[in-house]
């Protein structure tokens, strides 16, 4: 399959990094360490899945970090009185709602998505800070079902990693096995051309942002459960990490290019890097530099390879 060939270099990069860190930190490839890696990646990967949809449509979403914080705080606020289901609905719903706003404004006006979602980021952050005066809100230890979202394991695998896997499968299916996916690729490639084939581009675009917002809500729930508390000020800069994962995975800002598999691999590469640099005891200042260099190299090699095969 073509898709498989396209991600071989990414797989190669991941394996290379694993080998390097194996050499630097012998326990790196232990089962428990890899499971821990999967859990750590999950929040960023879930944000990046949503980001991939938006990037495929030719847009960008800077608000996911703030929506993650808002989703978490909303859920934490509802949880004591409303219970588990209501909290889930609140967390995901508020993300989807702001995503709807992003989508409608982007589709209906010509305001660039960068600005639309920057504004949403500020508004959502303000809303999150309304809860509890901006202080963290702890989750009562009795809320076991909710806390399990972030901390339980199923057959030894951390639940967040399982959610990540399930959302990956759903996302891939959406992109490659539904008409919506075809239409998203088409409108990302050329909005006008998609319109002329009868695709309701506004609808396609709005759905991408709604899903992206909802996924940010899911990530917020998971983070809140993991941290036993919701932090209104959390998630700052998460959008850049999610964008980086999608870009490393081959998504193009012009729209119409990118896959869930690529994005997952992008998130994995960034996760390996973060974990490996920590475990190898690299000074935190060098961690920044190495991460910058690896992101540039990964996207650069993808761009270069594509040029070659053209």
């Amino acid at each position: 399959m073509k898709n498989c060939k396209a991600i071989l270099p990414l797989l190669g990069a991941a394996v290379l990094l694993l080998a390097i860190f194996r050499a630097l930190a012998p326990a790196f490839l232990s089962g428990s360490n890899l499971l821990d890696l999967a859990q750590q990646i999950s929040v960023n990967a879930i944000l990046a899945f949503g980001m991939t949809l938006v990037i495929l449509s030719g847009g960008i979403d800077l608000s996911v970090g703030a929506l993650l914080a808002l989703g978490g705080t909303a859920a934490a606020a509802i949880l004591p009185a409303g219970g588990f289901i209501a909290a889930l609905a609140a967390g995901i719903g508020v993300g989807a709602l702001f995503g709807l706003g992003n989508g409608l404004v982007t589709a209906r006006t010509r305001i660039p998505p960068f600005i639309v979602t920057l504004a949403t980021m500020l508004v959502a952050r303000g809303c999150a800070l309304r809860f509890n005066e901006g202080r963290p809100m702890s989750i009562a230890l009795t809320q076991e079902t909710f806390l399990a979202l972030g901390n339980s394991r199923c057959a030894g695998v951390p639940l967040p990693a399982i959610f990540m896997g399930a959302l990956f499968v759903l996302g891939s299916g959406l992109l490659h096995r539904t008409r919506y996916g075809q239409h998203l690729y088409a409108m990302g490639g050329s909005r006008e051309a998609a319109r002329f084939t009868g695709i309701g581009v506004a609808r396609v675009e709005v759905i991408a942002y709604v899903l992206c917002g909802a996924l940010a809500g899911v990530a917020g729930l998971i983070q809140t459960a993991q941290l036993y508390s919701a932090e209104p000020a959390s998630g700052q800069g998460f959008e850049l990490n999610a964008i980086a994962a999608a870009a490393v995975g081959g998504a193009s800002f012009k729209g119409g290019r990118g896959t869930m598999l690529g994005t997952l691999l992008g998130a994995i590469i960034i996760g390996i890097l973060d974990k490996g640099l920590n475990q190898a005891g690299v000074h935190f200042s060098f961690q920044y530099m190495v991460k910058g260099a690896v992101i540039l190299a990964a996207v650069g090699s993808d761009v270069w390879r594509r040029k070659e095969t053209r």
């Binding site: 930190a25 326990a27 232990s30 428990s32 360490n33 821990d36 859990q39 750590q40 929040v43 005066e133 901006g134 202080r135 963290p136 702890s138 972030g150 901390n151 983070q223 993991q226 941290l227 036993y228 508390s229 932090e231 000020a233 959390s234 700052q236 800069g237 973060d274 974990k275 920590n278 475990q279 005891g281 000074h283 935190f284």
Partner: protein
């Protein structure tokens, strides 16, 4: 191996320790890190320092990375005192002792010890210094309420102000991250809004320096009293030059060395105090020179 050392410990000279700070953009934590490092280096062991950059999730992930590597002990300065519970549980399951430095956590039973300045006392000292100098002060408080240490300082400060100086009034409270960059514009606008504002309690030294800059920019140098907490060299300089009135000096290096000492005591099988409070001292013009050097 001998009996008392827990099974995670490894032999002296090959052990490693990890510490995670909420931020390293504050001389306080860098000094605390130095205190830890000094003791650990003396034992021939290794310390890995992690910067959480004010993100609880990063802190959790960083620590789960090192827990996988089974350090002899973890020192923890939490971003958010509630959000470290999962980390504490993971460490207990891995039988790694955790020593909390500077800011307390609510789950005291999950940690080996807590080593911190007496932050309530630091706030009290600041209020006392302010009240003595200007009993009728109109005060602004620049708090940072995510962090428990900062919350304690403000609690001590308001407590003394209310009890001992009824003439002083708190006319504004703003929440701001304790960096110069974040504090300066907030202070600048408070000065614009309250022409009669004449004292401020920023909860730490970097914040105080931001305040001094804002006061100078507003042309009100010397008219607004700045009292704060930390005792850094930079703040001491400003005390000598009149920009800052007082700072309640903490001794971060001492906190670091006491925390490291507690860890080695535990590894040697000795009992360790659950709570270790490091006293604070007031720094004013009178004694600032000692803190500059």
């Amino acid at each position: 191996e001998k009996k008392p050392a827990p099974d995670t410990a490894g032999a002296a000279g090959s052990r490693f320790f990890a510490v995670s700070f909420q931020t390293l953009n504050n001389p306080f934590f860098v000094d605390l890190n130095d205190g830890l490092k000094q003791v650990i280096d003396e034992h021939g062991d290794r310390l890995v320092t992690l910067d959480a950059q004010f993100s609880s999730l990063k802190q959790k992930n960083d620590l789960s990375d090192v827990i996988e590597q089974k350090p002899a002990a973890i020192f923890l300065n939490p971003v958010n005192w509630e959000s470290v519970r999962a980390t504490l549980i993971a460490a207990r399951n891995a039988k790694i002792p955790v020593i909390v430095v500077d800011a307390p956590v609510p789950d005291a039973d999950l940690v080996l010890a807590q080593v911190a300045s007496d932050n309530v006392a630091a706030g009290r000292l600041a209020a006392q210094a302010l009240g003595d100098a200007r009993p009728q002060a109109k005060v602004a408080i620049l708090q940072y309420s995510v962090n428990k240490a900062c919350v304690d300082r403000v609690a001590g400060f308001t407590d003394v102000l209310a009890k001992s100086f009824p003439g002083a009034t708190i006319i504004a409270r703003q929440d701001v991250k304790g960096t110069s960059e974040a504090t300066r514009p907030v202070m600048r606008d408070l000065l614009g809004r309250f022409p009669d504002l004449d004292a401020v309690f920023p909860i730490n030294d970097p914040g105080a320096i931001g305040c001094v800059s804002a006061i100078d920019a507003a042309g009100r140098s010397g008219k607004v009293l700045v009292v704060t907490v930390d005792g850094s060299r930079e703040a001491a300089q400003f005390i000598l030059n009149g920009g800052i009135h007082s700072t309640s000096a903490q001794f971060p290096k001492k906190i670091g060395s006491l925390a490291a000492g507690a860890a080695y005591d535990h590894l040697a099988g000795k009992p360790v105090d659950k709570e270790i409070k490091v006293p604070v001292t007031l720094v004013t013009k009178a004694n600032a020179a000692e803190f500059v050097k």
